[in-house]
C-alpha cells in the first residue's frame, strides 16, 4: 500500500491526544469566554438599538404632545386676549356712559344752581330797584307837592281827565 495513504499509528495517536488537549484548552479558556463576550456584546448592541428606538418614539411622542400643548396654549391665549379685549371695551364703554351721565348730572346741577342763583339775584335786584324807585318816587312827590299851587293844578288836571 502506498505509504501516502497509510495512516501511521503514531501520528494517529499523537494527533488524537494533541487535538483533544487543544480542544479542551481552547474550549474552556478561549471559545467559552470569547463566544460569551460576543453574545453579550450583541445583546448589548441589540438592547441599545431597541432602547434608542424606544427613546426616539418617546421623543416623537413628546414632541407631538408638546405641539398639541402649544397649540392649546395658543388657542387659550387667543381666547383670553379676546376676552380681555371684550372686557376692556365693556369697561371703557361703561366708564364712558358713567362719565356722560355724571357730566350731564353735574351740568344739570350747575344749571339749576345757576338758575337758582340768578333767581335770587334777580329777586334781590328787583327788591332793591323797587325800594330805590319808591324812594325816588317819594322824593319826587315830596318835591312836587311842596307848594299848594302845584297840588291844586294837579288836582285840576286830574279832574279834567275825569269825564263824568
Amino acid at each position: 500500500m502506498n505509504p501516502l495513504v497509510t495512516p501511521d499509528i503514531g501520528l494517529v495517536f499523537w494527533t488524537t491526544v494533541s487535538f483533544a488537549v487543544l480542544f479542551f484548552l481552547l474550549a474552556k479558556f478561549a471559545w467559552k469566554p470569547i463566544m460569551g463576550a460576543l453574545d453579550e456584546r450583541e445583546r448589548f448592541i441589540e438592547d441599545a438599538l431597541s432602547k434608542a428606538e424606544a427613546a426616539k418614539e418617546e421623543m416623537s411622542r413628546l414632541t407631538s404632545e408638546n405641539e398639541t400643548l402649544l397649540k392649546q396654549a395658543r388657542i387659550e391665549r387667543d381666547a383670553i386676549l379676546q376676552e380681555a379685549k371684550k372686557v376692556k371695551d365693556q369697561i371703557i364703554g361703561e366708564a364712558k356712559d358713567a362719565a356722560h351721565k355724571e357730566g350731564a348730572r353735574q351740568i344739570e346741577l350747575a344749571r339749576i344752581e345757576i338758575n337758582n342763583q340768578k333767581a335770587i339775584a334777580m329777586a334781590d335786584v328787583k327788591n332793591q330797584v323797587a325800594a330805590l324807585s319808591l324812594e325816588i318816587a317819594e322824593k319826587v312827590l315830596r318835591k312836587q307837592f311842596e307848594d299848594q299851587g302845584k297840588q291844586d293844578a294837579l288836582v285840576a288836571d286830574l279832574l279834567k281827565e275825569v269825564k263824568l
Binding site: L4, D8, V12, F19, L22, K32, M35
Partner: protein, 366 residues
C-alpha cells in the same frame, strides 16, 4: 472613500504576502540545491529523482531538517512485544548516509532498529529487515509532523488565549489588535458555517467547529512555509485527516436524534423487505461522509505540496538556473493559490462537519 482605502490595504496586504513568499521561495532554493548537491557528490552516478524527493518531503520524517546538512534528531518511541523503548533518531542512520551512531546506523535496543525510507524497521544481525517482527512494532515517535502539530497548537493557544484575555480586559469595548483580526473570522465560523447549517442549537458545537477550523487553517499555513520550522505536510497526512474526520463521525452520530436514527433504521414509506439493503446504504452513507472529508483535505493539501515541490524540482531536472525564474514564478503563483486553498479547505471541512451535524440533529415536522 472608506471602502477604497480598505480595498487598497487589502491589495497591499496581498502584495506583502506575495513578497514574503517570493523571498521564502528564493531562500528555499539554495537549501534545496545544497541537499541535491550533496547527493550528487556522494554518488555521482545517482540521478536526481524528483518523485523520490517530492515524496520524501511530503511524508513524515524522524528528524527535523533545519538547513543544509543540519538535521535535528527527534525522539523515537517504539512499542514492541518486549515493551516500550525510547531513543534519539540520531542513533538511526539516515538514508543520506549521515552516520552519527553505530555501524550501518543500527540501534541495538530490545531489537535492532534501522530506518528504511524514514520508517523504523526491525533488522536482524545481518542488517536485513525482519518483516515479521516489524509488523508487531508500533511506532509512537515524535516525528516532524508531531513537532509541527505541537508548534501549531502552541500558536493557537497563544493567539486565542490572548484574544480571550483581550475580551475579558476590554469588556464592553470595541475589539482591538489581534482581537479585531480574529473576531470577524470567529463570527464568520459562527454566522456563515454554524448557524445556517446547524440551526438554533449551534452554540453547543461552536468550540469543536472553531477548533477544527483554526487547527486545519494554521496547519495548512505552516505547511506552506518552505523552511524550518514550517514545511511539514501535516494536514496533507492521511493520519491527521483520519483523526479529524473520525471526530466528525463520532460527533455527528453521537448527536444524532430520534429522527436521524429512525431514518437510518426504520425508514417510513420504504417497504420492509428493502430495509436490509437500506441499512447497508445508510451505513455506507454514514461512513462515506467523513471518509470524503478525510480524502478531500489530505488530497488537496498534498497535491498543493506536490505541485510546488515538482515546480522546484524542475530546476534540478533541467540542471539549469535558467529555468529558475519560470519555476519561481509558477511557485509564487501556486503559493498564493495555496494560501486560498489553505483557508478554503479549513472552511469546507468545518462547513461540511456543521452540515452533517445539522442533518443529524434536524427536527422533522411531519
Amino acid at each position: 472613500m472608506y471602502k477604497s482605502s480598505i480595498l487598497k490595504s487589502k491589495i497591499f496586504t496581498l502584495l506583502r504576502i506575495c513578497a514574503v513568499f517570493l523571498t521564502l521561495t528564493a531562500f528555499s532554493i539554495p537549501a534545496f540545491s545544497q541537499a541535491e548537491h550533496a547527493e550528487h557528490t556522494e554518488g555521482a552516478e545517482k540521478k536526481f529523482e524528483p518523485g523520490e524527493v517530492v515524496l520524501e518531503h511530503i511524508a513524515d520524517s524522524h528528524s527535523l531538517h533545519i538547513i543544509g546538512h543540519t538535521h535535528l534528531p527527534l525522539p523515537v518511541i517504539v512499542y514492541t512485544d518486549k515493551g516500550l523503548e525510547m531513543f534519539s533518531s540520531g542513533k538511526l542512520a539516515h538514508e543520506a548516509g549521515e552516520h552519527e551512531a553505530g555501524a550501518a546506523g543500527v540501534y541495538k535496543g530490545n531489537y535492532n532498529y534501522k530506518l528504511v525510507n524514514d520508517k523504523v524497521k526491525i533488522v536482524n544481525e545481518a542488517g536485513e529487515v525482519d518483516e515479521a517482527a516489524t509488523s508487531k512494532l508500533y511506532d509512537f515517535s515524535i516525528t516532524r509532523n508531531v513537532v509541527s502539530m505541537w508548534m501549531s497548537i502552541a500558536f493557537l493557544l497563544i493567539i486565542f488565549l490572548s484574544v480571550s484575555s483581550a475580551y475579558k480586559k476590554r469588556q464592553g469595548k470595541a475589539p482591538k489588535g489581534l482581537q479585531s483580526f480574529m473576531e470577524p473570522i470567529i463570527l464568520f465560523v459562527r454566522d456563515d458555517i454554524a448557524r445556517p447549517n446547524i440551526g438554533y442549537k449551534y452554540q453547543r458545537f461552536m468550540p469543536l467547529l472553531l477548533t477544527v477550523f483554526f487547527f486545519i487553517w494554521i496547519n495548512n499555513l505552516i505547511g506552506l512555509v518552505p523552511f524550518f520550522p514550517g514545511g511539514a505536510n501535516l494536514t496533507g497526512n492521511i493520519a491527521v485527516t483520519l483523526v479529524l474526520s473520525v471526530i466528525t463521525l463520532i460527533v455527528v452520530n453521537l448527536n444524532g436524534n430520534k429522527h436521524y436514527w429512525q431514518h437510518v433504521f426504520v425508514p417510513a414509506d420504504v417497504p420492509v423487505w428493502i430495509w436490509p439493503l437500506w441499512w447497508v446504504i445508510e451505513l455506507v452513507g454514514i461512513i462515506s461522509k467523513p471518509f470524503a472529508l478525510m480524502i478531500r483535505l489530505f488530497a488537496n493539501i498534498t497535491a498543493g505540496h506536490i505541485i510546488v515541490l515538482s515546480l522546484i524540482s524542475l530546476i534540478f531536472v533541467f540542471q539549469s538556473f535558467a529555468i529558475a525564474p519560470i519555476s519561481v514564478a509558477f511557485v509564487v503563483f501556486m503559493d498564493v493559490l495555496e494560501l486560498l486553498v489553505a483557508a478554503l479547505q479549513a472552511f469546507i471541512f468545518t462547513l461540511l462537519t456543521a452540515l452533517f451535524i445539522g442533518t443529524a440533529i434536524e427536527e422533522h415536522h411531519h
